[in-house]
């Protein structure tokens, strides 16, 4: 286990660096003044939705498809049936789920196992993971998860090869600023933005899917 690092004392470095910064800036920064200055930063970019809600949802679907993430709609009462269909289509049954996932979303006949703090190699043994989501951003095709009940810790949506993500339509926003605003109150939680499955363009600039992280991402939009 990690030992106490008593030999590393960077207080001298700290003092010197802060001193250099103050010299460079011609004085010490003042917190109140900084706050006022920050408040007067010009922000004339779009900060609210410009499209009606139905279009926003359509946009999200469109963008998800662009990333090869599969997106379907379902009515509130049909979630479990839709989940069943998705899993059958994919030929999967052994799924890890976070604590607090809505029981009504889970159809019978599949192996849903609640995360017990499994080790990474155990997580590797699951075929997929199913979670809810905090919100989705339509313009960028992004789904955001945080460490809360129903979404779970980060490792479970990282190691399995398939991620089935359930998003409520009222949690879909159009723009990135709207999303950051909603995340503001829980900003300190572990947060992950997903925009399509893992990809890289490092080989001749061709986008290749699935280096690490789930290679397959499905999204169910719940009305």
């Amino acid at each position: 286990m990690a030992t106490e690092i008593s030999t590393i004392d960077s207080s001298a470095a700290r003092t010197e660096i802060l001193h250099r910064i103050r010299e460079a800036n011609g004085g010490s920064a003042d917190g109140d003044h900084a706050a006022t200055q920050w408040g007067s930063i010009e922000r004339s970019y779009r900060r609210w939705a410009t499209r009606p809600p139905a279009e926003v949802i359509e946009l999200l679907e469109d963008r998800l498809r662009d990333y090869d993430a599969h997106a379907v709609h379902t009515a509130a009462g049909d979630v479990a049936a839709t989940v069943a269909k998705m899993l059958i289509d994919r030929g999967l049954s052994r799924m890890v789920i976070p604590d607090g996932l809505d029981a009504a979303w889970m159809p019978p006949g599949f192996d849903f196992v609640v995360d017990q703090g499994f080790h990474a190699s155990q997580l590797d043994g699951f075929e997929g993971v199913m979670t809810g989501a905090t919100l989705a951003i339509a313009e960028t095709g992004t789904v955001v998860l945080q460490n809360v009940p129903g979404q779970g810790r980060r490792a479970i949506s990282l190691i399995p090869d398939y991620h089935l993500c359930l998003v409520q339509v009222q949690d879909v926003v159009e723009t990135v600023p709207e999303a950051l605003k909603r995340l503001g109150t829980t900003a300190c939680l572990p947060t992950t933005f997903f925009s399509g499955p893992s990809a890289t363009a490092d080989i001749e600039m061709t986008r290749i899917k699935g280096v690490h992280g789930p290679r397959f991402l499905d999204v169910i939009l719940m009305h």
């Binding site: 470095a13 313009e139 999303a179 300190c188 925009s195 990809a199 600039m205 280096v211």
Partner: protein
């Protein structure tokens, strides 16, 4: 990998740009790869930027946010430290690269692991961290596909965002075949990615300590944000027991809300995507989610020097998107290695010499035709051409007396006087006369110029000076008429 002398891009010892460029210009494969890669990203960028009606507004806000952060850097670093510490993180400070390496090495040892998995971090490349770790008996595994290619190829990064952009699939296949022992490996990009996935997965599930950089440090919350594509970042940030994040002090953002601007500017500029696949934000240590021990090493390494330069400090606003490299017509011809630094292209031409406090890399500010394409695409509006000119002035002042400086002084004196200017014009015609040859049309051309000017006539002819200057003609005709 062990026991081999790694070549490193060290501005202190790299050849001057014109010399380095000369040899890379002979590398047909490299030039083809670089042209292809930069064209692809530029096209993608143009598409996703073209969609944004508020792109210019975002750029302006991006510029103001970064400028504001630098102007209050001490305040925000202290705030970050407070908040990160409160959330269970341990914050360390390093005045330079050597100090940072000592701290990271000690932290790795203290974690009880003799190996680390790493996320791509230009900051760690800047200080050559891996070499220090190796020297201390610690193995560092790069997990970013491009960095893996670089590491296995005993190579150096040539681009901030796509470090192996100078390699094509056959070259990558050869490297993987050899280093991963996969003689049957195919050369389709998917095959190569799959090979990397299998090779690295074993490391992700086993290695206990990770080292990362940071895209943004959020002062308001003490949080750190990593922007990535492959998922290796998420692996390194979540699975190990100990995480050590090293970040330049210029990575600070004032508030969480400021991510709303950066997360729009960065992916569109860097890879031409509306959003990159994964962004991770964490704050200190989280119970049962991620590493139990988290360290941040805040590194100066001459950034405060850059901050102290009124005209140069805008360089620190950089969010490492690489768009300037993709747009640069010089980079397009040479790729990154010719710049002799891990920071190449336009941003490298201004950042590298400043981080060297102008003692090295003095040829880099001249590695530009000042075309301005970089400034046009910079998401935070760094006026790179302006900084280049400013740094050229610093180089000139530092160099003092030289043949060039003398010639420039003489030219300066000539321009300050109408008489001297006209005399110089006449002298020029006389001086060039022996070099002029008539071509097939009877026009006079010069095919060879001596000394410094010889660079011109390498591939270009120079037309002889006309017998009559414009002002001679003007005077002859009077104020009106022919």
């Amino acid at each position: 990998m062990s026991g081999t002398t790694e070549t490193v891009l060290d501005p202190k010892t790299s050849p001057a740009f014109p010399i380095a460029a000369r040899s890379v210009l002979e590398d047909t494969q490299l030039r083809k790869n670089v042209r292809h890669a930069t064209e692809v990203i530029q096209a993608k960028r143009a598409r996703v930027v073209g969609e944004m009606p508020d792109w210019q507004a975002l750029r302006e806000s991006g510029r103001q946010i970064r400028e504001h952060a630098m102007a209050n850097l001490d305040h925000y670093l202290e705030e970050f430290e407070r908040n990160c510490t409160r959330a269970g993180g341990k914050v360390h400070w390093a005045r330079d690269g050597e100090e940072a390496k000592r701290i990271v090495t000690a932290l790795v040892k203290a974690s009880g692991s003799n190996e680390v998995i790493k996320i791509k971090s230009m900051t760690t490349e800047e200080i050559h961290l891996n070499q220090s770790l190796e020297a201390a008996g610690l193995r560092a595994y790069e997990t970013d596909l491009a960095e893996l290619i670089i590491q296995f190829g005993h190579d150096q990064p040539s681009h901030i965002v796509v470090p192996a952009l100078h390699k094509n699939r056959q070259q990558i296949r050869e490297i993987f075949q050899r280093e991963m022992n996969l003689p049957e490996l195919g050369d389709k990009p998917q095959d190569l990615a799959d090979a990397a996935r299998r090779f690295l997965r074993e490391k992700f599930l086993r290695v206990k300590t990770a080292v990362s950089g940071a895209n943004f440090l959020i002062a308001e919350t003490g949080g750190v944000c990593i922007v990535e594509s492959e998922g290796n970042g998420r692996m390194c940030l979540t699975l190990p027991e100990t995480l050590i994040t090293i970040a330049g002090i210029d990575k600070v953002l004032p508030r969480f809300q400021d991510l709303e601007v950066m997360l729009q500017l960065l992916p569109r500029s860097a890879t031409g995507e509306r959003m990159n696949p994964y962004n991770s934000i964490w704050t200190g240590v989280h119970e049962n989610d991620g590493p139990r021990t988290f360290h941040v090493v805040l590194m100066d390494n001459a950034r405060t020097e850059v901050l102290a330069d009124a005209e140069g400090r805008q360089t620190l606003n950089c969010i490492r998107c690489g768009a300037c490299q993709n747009a640069c017509p010089v980079y397009r011809q040479t790729g990154g290695h010719a710049y002799g630094s891990v920071y190449a292209g336009p941003i490298g031409a201004i950042l590298t010499p400043q981080l060297q406090q102008m003692h090295h890399a003095q040829s880099l500010p001249y590695a530009s035709s000042l075309c301005g394409a970089c400034y046009e695409v910079c998401p935070v509006k760094i006026n790179i051409p302006e900084v280049l000119i400013h740094l050229r002035n610093k180089v000139v002042v530092q160099k003092g007396l030289s043949a060039e400086a003398l010639a420039m002084k003489v030219m300066g004196a000539i321009f300050r006087s109408e008489k001297r200017f006209r005399a110089a014009q006449r002298l020029g015609r006389i001086a060039e006369a022996p070099l002029v040859h008539k071509d097939g049309q009877g026009e006079g051309w010069i095919g060879w110029l001596p000394g410094l000017l010889g660079g011109w006539t390498q591939v270009r002819d120079l037309k002889e000076m006309p017998k009559e200057t414009f002002r001679d003609w003007w005077e002859k005709r009077g104020s009106r008429g022919n």
